[in-house]
Symmetry: C2
Subunit: 367 residues, 2 copies
């Protein structure tokens, strides 16, 4: 048992957001991680959360609870912090967590803007701790399979067009009072909460090559406090052969998580990208070398459904990958990985550009 304790990465969760329930389950499921403690601004809240969600440590005892965030950060047994705080609090607490040598799994959007994120990343670098944002879809085996297909340019051709959406229909409670539509908490609204996925997806598809410019389309819906409830933007890579991308994010539409990557020879479609329909397996449609048959009365091929099984939920894969990197650092074999912070940084940079385009009357913003 002692051996197991020393090899598991010990997580502390900072804040009792709803998403913390999902991640506490993921920490339990990930084979290299354990949940050590949860902190809230009140001890009662932390205790209630731990009890209600049956949060047990690796010895099957109810986990530690703290009535303040700072106590959690001062717990020497905690290796890593999962931080689902409102975005406006990220920079303060993330920098502090890094200074306390805690590895940081930070919920997205990572910050209100790139300058804040850079403060966080710098603190992580200076303190030698791992940074990763909480985008789960990167870690699903389906994502790797799709990447393999779209990266094979001999088969897939040049990526011409990427389209994606991320939306759900928020109820009136959410639209009136959720932190994600409150300028004091999450000033980026649907762009931060849902657009983050789309921007990450588009960058992922093009191997994180930044677009030359981005532009928001003139259809942004704001609430009375100026928070984005819905928006559309397009990204443009000017080098020939050109690539372009369009995304739509909204708190006002029926649930959608569509991704289409259209190459010159093949294309990929998926409709449950950010959260797969089911945990055990997820699929996508691959259409390859399609053309119309003689007389143009049908297609020579129909899309093939490619099914990818997943031993763990994607969020457990995420925790596992994060913990794997931490174990490498703890054993003094490796420096913190730079890939994940760089992905977050580019995502935030492009998100800022979309926001700037909105603020500047939908003008193109060059990167």
């Amino acid at each position: 048992m002692e051996e197991k304790q020393t090899t598991l990465v010990r997580f502390g969760i900072m804040g009792c957001a709803r998403i913390a329930r999902k991640i506490s389950r993921a920490i339990k499921l990930a084979p290299n991680s354990t949940l050590h403690a949860i902190a809230s601004r009140s001890l009662e809240k932390a205790e209630a959360f731990a009890t209600q969600n049956e949060l047990l440590d690796e010895q099957a005892k109810l986990i530690k609870t703290y009535g303040s965030y700072i106590e959690l950060l001062d717990d020497q047994e905690v290796d890593a912090i999962y931080m689902p705080l409102p975005t406006s609090l990220h920079v303060e607490w993330a920098v502090l967590a890094a200074s306390k040598k805690k590895h940081l799994l930070l919920e997205k959007p990572t910050a209100l803007n790139l300058a804040q994120l850079d403060q966080i990343l710098e603190a992580c670098q200076v303190n030698g701790v791992q940074f990763m944002d909480g985008s789960m879809w990167y870690h699903h085996p389906r994502t790797a399979k799709m990447k393999q297909i779209i990266s094979n340019s001999a088969n897939f051709g040049h990526i011409r067009k990427i389209s994606c959406t991320s939306s759900f229909r928020a109820g009136s409670d959410f639209l009136n009072s959720n932190i994600r539509v409150d300028p004091e908490c999450d000033a980026l609204g649907a762009l931060g909460d849902l657009g983050w996925y789309c921007i990450g997806l588009i960058l992922w598809a093009v191997n994180y090559k930044l677009p030359n410019f981005v532009t928001a389309l003139p259809e942004v819906t704001l609430n009375s406090k100026g928070i984005i409830l819905a928006c559309t933007a397009s990204f443009h890579w000017e080098e020939e052969p050109k690539t372009s991308a369009t995304f739509y994010c909204s708190f006002l539409s029926h649930v959608s998580m569509d991704l289409t990557v259209c190459g010159s020879i093949e294309s990929v479609h998926v409709n449950d990208l950010a959260i797969p329909y089911q945990e055990k397996a997820a699929s996508f449609l691959l259409t390859s070398g399609a053309k119309c048959v003689n007389l143009q009365i049908g297609w020579n091929v129909e899309p093939e459904e490619v099914v990818v099984e997943s031993q763990l939920p994607q969020e457990a894969h995420m925790v596992q990958e994060f913990a794997r990197l931490i174990k490498g650092i703890k054993s003094c074999e490796k420096c913190p990985d730079k890939t994940w912070p760089e992905i977050s940084r580019k995502t935030q940079m492009v998100l800022d550009a979309v926001r700037e385009s909105v603020d500047r009357g939908y003008k193109p913003v060059y990167l």
Copy 2:
């Protein structure tokens, strides 16, 4: 037999374009139509086309052939002309056909611009003949089923977003010499050939309510002669609750014919819109009332595949509908139907606006 002859609408095909093979088959399949004659600029070409495609009249004899378009228009036995000529020739021949009292099934894009189309429509109106453009997908039973769903606003909610694509990957032969990339023949390029579908689809989804404005996105690909090979545009309805639409058309991407209509409560996806995979049946995905389950680890529902059978290919449904309207006019019971000309007119109007946005450096164009 004589009874049958008098009740069948007799078609003449003007021009031996490849698409004429598909429509000659459709005329044969439509129960109220018969193919009477085909004309080309040379008699040899018309004869070869008739022989190679085994174009028989209702008495199973090889159909009449003409070595000039005017002879076809002067054939008193011809009720209706199907005209797949290059777009730049439409206005001249369509107006002439109408003046000869021929009903007109005109291949899309209907004209180089709205002014030309208006000349055609006026000629049809003055001469009391029916006009319809050759967009086949309107006539598929699947289209009617989808329309029923998205029009039911109590179930579907408000239509927030429409996305569609129409693309195929043209070979070098096409890109070098096809009439659709030749400014003398089809100066609208991919916007006319493929964007026509997308524009029609978007207008169809919103019951033909014109957008307040349209804007092309700054990613148009032109060939050396200035013809559009690929472009993206967005349409905006400003009235609250807002609706927006985006479409992509391209001669440079793998085949795609995607349509997504996202309402506030339901959404519809289809990936083979303009030409269904198979003739006998076509389907679409309907997702209704979807939300994430507890812990956000999956969906409460998965998309339902709605399959719609089709007794005839969609192009035969189109011919049948066109012939039905003609028979109503011939029996003096009805005036020409105004719905189809109006749909074409709005499509052309919006297409012109997209073209104008491209020409004006991607500025919004108000309608």
